[in-house]
């Protein structure tokens, strides 16, 4: 370990002439930042003992500064962004200070300053401080640092290279300041998403993540960072970009499962008329599939799993019932239910066989009452989900063939599959082709359906 850091620093600072800050050293060697600061100090001391001036350091001083002349205090008190700091060329100190806590305005304000100084200005900077609460090496470089802003590159690299590490886990190792009350947000019942499901899930994940992490970088920034506003904002934004990449990986794995859950939940809505809560729960289960597996996430996932099982059973039963109904119902209702089936390609196949058997067994089984409430339920679904736009189109079409219930079901199946965007549903259309000429009519009706689908694509 002791040898590692000397080797690492020798390679990076001397040979490659990179800028190494204590933070990048701690991430690279997986050590606490305080240890990294000590490593930097040791290396600096040894190298300069061997060959003076081979390694330059930039220091960070925290403390309370003395009262300064008005010419200079402008820079201290009105410190808002790094640009003003750099513009100050009269004081030889390249300063960037951030007054952190300020007391009441009436009393003389005690300003705690955080200052980044090059080593050549270190002694001078120390004299400007009335009391120094902390001083350590911020970074090492082989040659002098001309532009203090190049230090921002260190933090950007950290955010990029170590984006996969979970800060809630890693903070103990690295010593980042952590708010003990912070926790990752889990489920979010947001508005229904746009067509892609993953996008809103990722967006929602991004929002809780930066909220959690903004406490961390802000505290760090207040303590010891380069007060360049660019630095803290880039750090915050870079950390924000970290978690989505971390969460993007588990998301695709959960996506197919979540989509299925969503489908069966939709079916449940047809069966029982409660659409929103289940749909949202399935969405929240997608978001809940984060690496930080908290108990809330698991309960949510478990809950939706239970829902799924019940949903699938209800779905099949309902389809069977619907299939047996003869004419007299508006096709809307049947289309509505069977539209849900189109989401589940597998389940549509399964439903075909029980339908056939059920049709043979039972006669007309009227369930008008159960159907009517389903219609308004279907309306709501269509309104909410953009993906079901396709269904809305099918609803309007309403191919009605009241003569033969059996064929009607098949035909409606085809209809719904057409309203769906995927090509596989078209295979389902091939199934009823085996039936009588009424199925030919079904195909014919399918073509206007295809026209609908093309307009669907055109809109997209």
């Amino acid at each position: 370990m002791a040898q590692d850091y000397a080797e690492y620093l020798a390679i990076n600072v001397l040979n490659e002439q990179q800028l190494i800050s204590y933070r990048s050293l701690s991430r690279a060697l997986k050590v606490h930042v305080n240890l990294a600061k000590q490593m930097l100090y040791e290396f600096h001391r040894k190298q300069n003992a061997k060959k003076p001036g081979s390694v330059h350091a930039t220091y960070l001083i925290t403390g309370i500064r003395r009262e300064q002349t008005p010419a200079q205090t402008n820079g201290v008190h009105s410190q808002k962004d790094g640009e003003d700091t750099v513009m100050q060329s009269s004081p030889p100190l390249p300063e960037s200070s951030a007054p952190v806590p300020e007391e009441s305005a009436e009393e003389p304000v005690v300003v705690r300053s955080v200052l980044l100084v090059k080593e050549e200005h270190l002694a001078q900077a120390k004299t400007t401080f009335e009391s120094i609460t902390g001083i350590h090496i911020y970074s090492l470089q082989a040659n002098g640092l001309n532009d203090v802003q190049s230090l921002t590159e260190c933090n950007r690299k950290i955010a990029v290279d170590y984006a996969s590490e979970d800060p809630l886990v890693a903070w103990k190792q690295y010593g980042t300041i952590q708010n003990p009350n912070v926790k990752r947000r889990t489920a979010r019942k947001g508005p229904p998403p746009a067509a892609p499901v993953t996008k809103p899930a990722e967006v929602k994940l991004k929002q809780p993540a930066p909220a959690a992490k903004s406490t961390v970088p802000e505290k760090q920034a207040s303590k010891d960072s380069n007060t360049n506003s660019q630095d803290s904002t880039t750090a915050a934004s870079k950390r924000a970009s970290k978690p989505p990449s971390a969460k993007a990986t588990p998301e695709p794995t959960k996506k197919p499962a979540a989509v299925k859950r969503q489908d069966s939940n939709i079916f449940m809505s047809f069966a029982k008329g409660k659409t929103k809560p289940q749909k949202e729960e399935s969405q929240s289960s997608v978001e809940a599939a984060t690496p930080a597996a908290e108990p809330e996430d698991e309960t949510m996932a478990g809950f939706s799993d239970e829902e799924d099982d019940a949903a699938e059973e209800g779905a099949v039963a309902d389809v069977g019932e619907v299939a047996n109904e003869p004419e007299g119902k508006s096709k809307r209702q049947r289309e509505a239910e069977l539209e849900a089936m189109m989401d589940q390609e597998d389940e549509v196949m399964e439903d075909a066989s029980p339908e056939k058997s059920a049709d043979g067994d039972e006669g007309a089984i009227d369930k008008p009452n159960s159907q009517h409430p389903q219609q308004p339920a279907k309306d709501t679904i269509i309104v909410e989900n953009g993906r079901r736009r396709g269904r809305r189109r099918v609803m309007k079409k309403k191919t009605v063939k009241d003569e033969d219930g059996y064929l009607v079901t098949k035909e409606e199946q085809a209809w719904e599959s057409f309203s769906e965007e995927e090509p596989p549903p078209k295979k389902i259309k091939a199934q009823p082709a085996a039936s009588t000429n009424k199925s030919a009519a079904a195909k014919k009706d399918g073509k206007p359906g295809q026209g609908n689908i093309m307009s669907f694509f055109g809109k997209k």
Binding site: L19, G82, S89, N143, L145, D147, E153
Partner: protein, 221 residues
């Protein structure tokens, strides 16, 4: 911009953006203009320096577009940012070797380029992320170069020069943005003095192949 087909024009446009930023960086690092006249900007996700004076910016933009015109003709071998002393002796040169850009006929400037690997796979012509990363690295190196180079004397000025390829036609049209400079031994500008070359970086991002180094004249005052 990632959706449009990558043509040579796109490659050259990316290079000229980089050239503009590099010129500003060099001006800041070598203190050609006072540091207070520079503001912090962000390019390629890196904080860079940009001069604020409108005349300086205008001059740089004009110079870079003149370089672009020559690049589009495909005659440029190298682009040099030369620092002269008050007596017009070149002290330093920041070289960018662009001779390895793809050469296409004038009619094909807007033709999408294609690149296949040895096994027949299609490769990206200009991978943006790689390119940005390499530009960032080059600019960081340029930004830290000032500490390695000797300090410049007072009152230095700078200029941009292009060295043409062997068969290149010099741009002698009216109005004439370029001034032909004769140098002895057919060598590049400032070729007389003994030079010390400090490599900065070489960039290879798809078809954008670039090399950057700094030449210091040892005999400079």
């Amino acid at each position: 911009m990632s959706t449009e087909a990558t043509t040579l024009r796109v490659i050259i446009a990316a290079f000229t953006d980089f050239l503009t930023v590099a010129i500003h960086t060099i001006l800041y690092e070598r203190a050609i203009y006072p540091p207070t006249s520079f503001l912090s900007a962000r390019k390629y996700n890196l904080s860079v320096r940009q001069n604020r004076h409108p005349k300086v910016c205008e001059w740089i933009n004009d110079a870079v577009s003149a370089v672009e015109t020559e690049l589009l003709k495909g005659v440029v071998g190298r682009v040099a940012i030369v620092i002269y002393t008050k007596d017009n002796h070149p002290v330093e040169r920041f070289m960018l070797d662009v001779s390895r850009f793809p050469t296409v006929a004038l009619a094909d400037l807007d033709t999408p380029l294609e690149r296949t690997a040895a096994n027949g796979d299609r490769l990206p012509i200009l991978p943006r992320i790689d390119m940005e990363e390499q530009f960032r690295a080059t600019l960081s190196r340029l930004a830290s170069c000032s500490s390695t180079l000797k300090p410049l004397p007072e009152g230095c000025v700078f200029n941009i020069a292009v060295e043409l390829k062997q068969d290149g036609q010099p741009p002698l049209n009216h109005p004439q943005p370029w001034m032909p400079v004769q140098s002895a031994k057919g060598d590049a500008v400032g070729g007389q003095l003994q030079k010390k070359a400090v490599p900065v970086r070489s960039i290879a991002a798809g078809e954008l192949l670039l090399e950057c180094w700094i030449e210091e004249a040892d005999g400079a005052s």
